[in-house]
């Protein structure tokens, strides 16, 4: 309980202190708002332009959400295939890993060309960037099954399907969730890059647009919204993990109590 208080209390306190320092410096050195607005001003813009930010935020959130689903479905399926066949693992895994050396920035213009200015190209971008961590973590998780447990299942005369669903899948879930958590953080990047390169809506588009008009407060307000989106999504994943992988939390809480 005490640890929990410090866990949430201290970062908030630090954030407030940093904000106060920022506000004080902006006023003290009379920095013009088109260079660096103070946090109070940013909050004011966030409040005043709530409708605009929410509308664009919703677009970005949709892109992230859809991209994530695509990555999860394709990534998980591919991981299962890779796990089921040594030949597929040899064929696919090196290519998947080396594909990570291609910066997403580099292919963003191509994706816009292929999938258009609309939501499609951003969904693909997000999916590409998230996909990797899902595949790698799921493959790792499927391999993590304890050999003695597998021997037990063999003695119990379990079919390969039973071994897969009763042991391998549950065993892999904590790994899959680790992948999803990393994926959430990078998914926001994927969507925003897509919007920067070419879009008509979304928080990334709003930032570029506001920046060009020297509305720096609005740029910061968009960044704040993106951060809130990312944190919120992370929170959703944590809640889902508690529901789907309850044994992990229980184990962790037992350790911290002792």
């Amino acid at each position: 309980m005490k640890a929990r208080f410090y866990n949430t209390g201290l970062p908030i306190a630090l954030l407030v202190i940093l904000g106060l320092g920022w506000e004080a410096s902006v006023r003290l050195f009379e920095i013009p708002p088109y260079v660096l607005p103070g946090p109070l001003q940013i909050l004011e813009v966030m409040w005043q332009r709530m409708d605009l930010l929410a509308a664009h935020g919703l677009v970005t959130l949709t892109e992230i959400g859809l991209g994530f689903w695509v990555a999860l479905v394709v990534g998980f399926t591919l991981a299962v295939l890779i796990h089921s066949s040594q030949i597929l693992e040899w064929a696919f895994l090196p290519l998947i890993i080396s594909s990570q050396t291609i910066p997403v920035f580099a292919i963003a213009p191509l994706l816009i060309l292929w999938f258009g200015y609309g939501i499609g190209s951003k969904v693909v971008m997000t999916a590409i960037i998230v996909f990797f961590t899902i595949v790698i973590n799921t493959v790792e998780g499927l391999k993590a099954a304890d050999p003695d447990t597998l021997a037990l299942l063999k003695i119990l005369e379990a079919t390969p399907g039973q071994v897969f669903f009763k042991v391998r899948i549950p065993q892999s879930l904590p790994f899959v969730f680790s992948g999803i958590k990393i994926g959430v953080a990078v998914s926001v990047i994927g969507a925003v890059i897509g919007e920067w390169v070419g879009a008509r809506e979304g928080l990334g588009y709003l930032m570029i647009h506001a920046n060009a008009q020297l509305q720096v407060e609005l740029v910061f307000a968009s960044i704040a919204w993106l951060s809130i989106l990312g944190t919120g999504l992370y929170g959703v994943v944590v809640v889902l993990e508690r529901l789907l992988v309850p044994w992990r939390q229980r184990a962790a809480s037992l350790i911290s109590e002792s």
Partner: protein, 260 residues
């Protein structure tokens, strides 16, 4: 309580197995033979590294023997899988399943519906001392309780032969004593034939109808002892002390042989 009547349920004849490690060949089992009647409790003791686990792995069909055969009901079988349930020192409970669902794993794999399997397991919780813990996850149970869940899973497979590979080896002396009483109770109630591997002479004497002593590597059967005392037995009984002395002497020779 002499159960040695009629033909044995299980006959193991001359099982041998060697492992090769590069050009070195390590003979682990050398012509192991033993038999067990229906409902009989057999204990196998031997110095560590005598190939007990290899022996069980052969019976479980996880590895195959170089020589020898296994006869079940007078018929030759490659292994006992399908007729036996297996329990080890590691409880191998699945961390994402609670007590009840861990206990029914074997039944579930045999194709039983979860609900009816759970109902049946629920009725047995009391015998295994797990009442009130059916919703607990393994991480929340003590070592003794986890082993009882594993025992329950083993029993619920409803097989006529139980292979127990040092099932209580990781428990403290007190818990082990309690678990031995559980095991006897459960054995009395369900009546399977039991093959128990242990390095604990007292455990073997308290539990078994018959005790086989194995030699150090390569493992073979050095001798056997029929234990016909009424249960529950006390290790301090005069006749038990004599048996213990006899078994320890047999074992000590082997441990001496093993020393350079």
């Amino acid at each position: 309580m002499n159960k040695r009547t009629g033909d044995p349920l299980l006959q193991i004849n001359g099982l041998s197995r060697a492992f090769s490690n590069g050009k070195d060949k390590l003979q682990v089992l050398q012509s192991v033979s033993l038999d067990a009647c229906e409902g009989e409790f057999i204990a196998i003791i031997g110095p560590s590294g005598c190939g007990k686990s290899t022996f069980f792995n052969i019976l479980a069909g996880l590895i195959s023997p170089d020589e020898g055969n296994i006869m079940l009901d007078g018929k030759k079988v490659p292994h006992l899988r399908g007729r036996m349930a297996y329990m080890q020192q590691k409880d191998l409970l699945l961390p994402w399943r609670n007590t009840l669902d861990n206990a029914i794993l074997g039944m579930e794999i045999q194709g039983r519906h979860k609900r009816s399997a759970r109902e049946q397991a629920r009725e047995l919780l009391k015998i295994f001392g797990l009442e009130g813990f059916e919703e607990h996850y393994p991480q929340e149970l003590s070592g003794g309780m986890r082993q009882r869940v594993a025992l329950m899973r083993t029993i619920l497979c409803k097989k006529d032969i139980l292979l127990l590979d040092e099932p209580f080896g990781a428990l403290d002396a007190m818990t082990r004593g309690i678990m031995q009483r559980w095991l006897l109770k459960v054995w009395g109630q369900f009546g399977p034939s039991v093959l128990l591997v242990t390095h604990d002479v007292e455990e073997a004497l308290i539990l078994a109808d018959r005790i086989y002593v194995m030699t150090s590597r390569p493992g073979s059967i050095k001798g056997s002892l029929q234990v016909s005392f009424e249960r529950p037995r006390r290790i301090t009984q005069a006749d038990m002390v004599d048996c213990k002395k006899y078994l320890l002497e047999l074992l000590e020779e082997e441990i001496m042989v093993g020393q350079p």
